[in-house]
């Protein structure tokens, strides 16, 4: 079969254009050799064009994908680049954790402040006299709103509960499901030895209290628990967590883009 030189030239020009799609390094290394191989194939009378053209088209698709993947691997999968990215990711993660943990602790510790003041003042009053008699004389601080007791599941007001030395409730400004809440087991033994404890108390699912328990010494010893629902504080802690998470994602994005740009500009180039 006679082959038209014009068609062959046209096909070769098209093939040369298609070679522009290969990565620069591969193209510079093999463009001339590939064009020559294609020219040889066009001149091979044993290879008909209806076999050659689909073969070359399939080859273009598969080898373009393969060479671009190889180029990406060579550009971005270099150990030094990955190591740098991992170190930066570790630093960003540590920073984001600190951005969450520090304000969270400040908020949580700050949530105890009114209770510490209330418990300290009440303990000072109770230590001066008989525990039960002093309570009857109205030593308790006024509950916000003026009511006798607060529903700690809903109210954000601070409250106090006074216990005798055996841990029995003498008076309570707090109610949960209509009853004074039961303090965590072992808390009085701990406070008997350490004088004070500050802790997060969950008397019921979804009710969390920032609690401070102080020892009442003197001839009529006992305990004072001051508490406050942590709902608002925990909402702020959640906001801090969301901001820290957004900051972390942003830093990861910057590291990703920075690594990609740095990897591209420092990629292996044709000799």
């Amino acid at each position: 079969m006679t082959r038209s030189p014009t068609t062959a030239n046209r096909l070769e020009r098209l093939y040369a254009l298609a070679l522009c799609l290969y990565p620069e390094r591969f193209r510079q290394g093999y463009e001339l050799a590939m064009r020559q191989t294609f020219r040889d194939a066009l001149q091979d009378r044993a290879l008909v064009r209806r076999t050659l053209i689909p073969l070359v088209l399939r080859d273009l698709v598969t080898s373009l994908a393969k060479e671009h993947l190889a180029m990406l691997r060579d550009t971005f999968a270099r150990p030094a680049l990955i190591f740098n990215a991992l170190v930066l990711t570790g630093l960003a993660t540590g920073l984001a954790l600190a951005l969450y943990a520090i304000p969270q602790q400040v908020l949580r510790q700050g949530a105890n402040d009114p209770q510490i003041a209330m418990a300290t003042d009440l303990v000072a009053v109770l230590e001066r006299g008989d525990l039960a008699a002093t309570l009857q004389q109205g030593a308790l601080p006024t509950v916000a709103g003026g009511a006798g007791a607060v529903d700690i599941a809903h109210s954000l007001s601070p409250f106090v509960i006074v216990y005798d030395d055996q841990g029995r409730t003498l008076v309570s400004q707090a109610l949960l499901d209509g009853k004074p809440p039961v303090p965590p087991a072992g808390i009085f033994n701990y406070v008997r030895n350490h004088n004070e404890d500050r802790f997060s108390w969950q008397p019921r699912r979804s009710v969390r209290i920032a609690a401070v328990v102080q020892r009442v010494d003197g001839p009529h010893p006992g305990f004072v628990l001051a508490g406050r629902n942590m709902r608002e504080v925990e909402a702020r802690e959640e906001q801090v967590g969301q901001m820290a998470a957004l900051t972390w994602i942003g830093m990861l994005g910057v590291i990703l883009v920075g690594t990609a740009v740095f990897g591209w500009y420092t990629r292996p180039r044709p000799a």
Binding site: A33, T37, A41, L55, S63, K66
Partner: protein, 114 residues
């Protein structure tokens, strides 16, 4: 730059066909493609992109090298290295063992091999 790390068996069809073709001697790209297309060369339909991509990786692995000979500056000739020869020999042994096993199991038509 050759790293000298031999690829793990089994070799890909393209790499095997290229090694087999170059076992005869130095050849240029289209000659290798023709050999690979022939049934005795592996029957691999390979275009220039696959051929030169494979050759580049094989040169990096130290299996082949450019011979430097050329009848035309645009034609590049390649030859097997010592490592390439031993990798080809190992692959042929592996295939030979598989064919012998297939014979023993009666999976191949009679007369294909003694």
């Amino acid at each position: 730059m050759a790293t000298g790390t031999a690829p793990a068996a089994p070799l890909s069809p393209a790499v095997f066909a290229i090694l087999l073709s170059l076992a005869e001697g130095d050849k240029h790209g289209y000659h290798i493609m023709k050999d690979a297309r022939a049934p005795q060369g592996g029957g691999i339909q390979m275009g220039p992109g696959t051929l030169y991509g494979s050759l580049e990786r094989m040169m990096r692995d130290g299996l082949v090298e450019e011979s430097g000979l050329s009848d035309d500056e645009r034609r590049r000739y390649y030859r097997l290295t010592k490592l390439g020869q031993s990798v080809l020999a190992a692959e042929l042994e592996r295939l030979d063992a598989a064919v012998s096993s297939a014979h023993a199991l009666g999976l191949l038509p009679h007369g294909g091999r003694s």
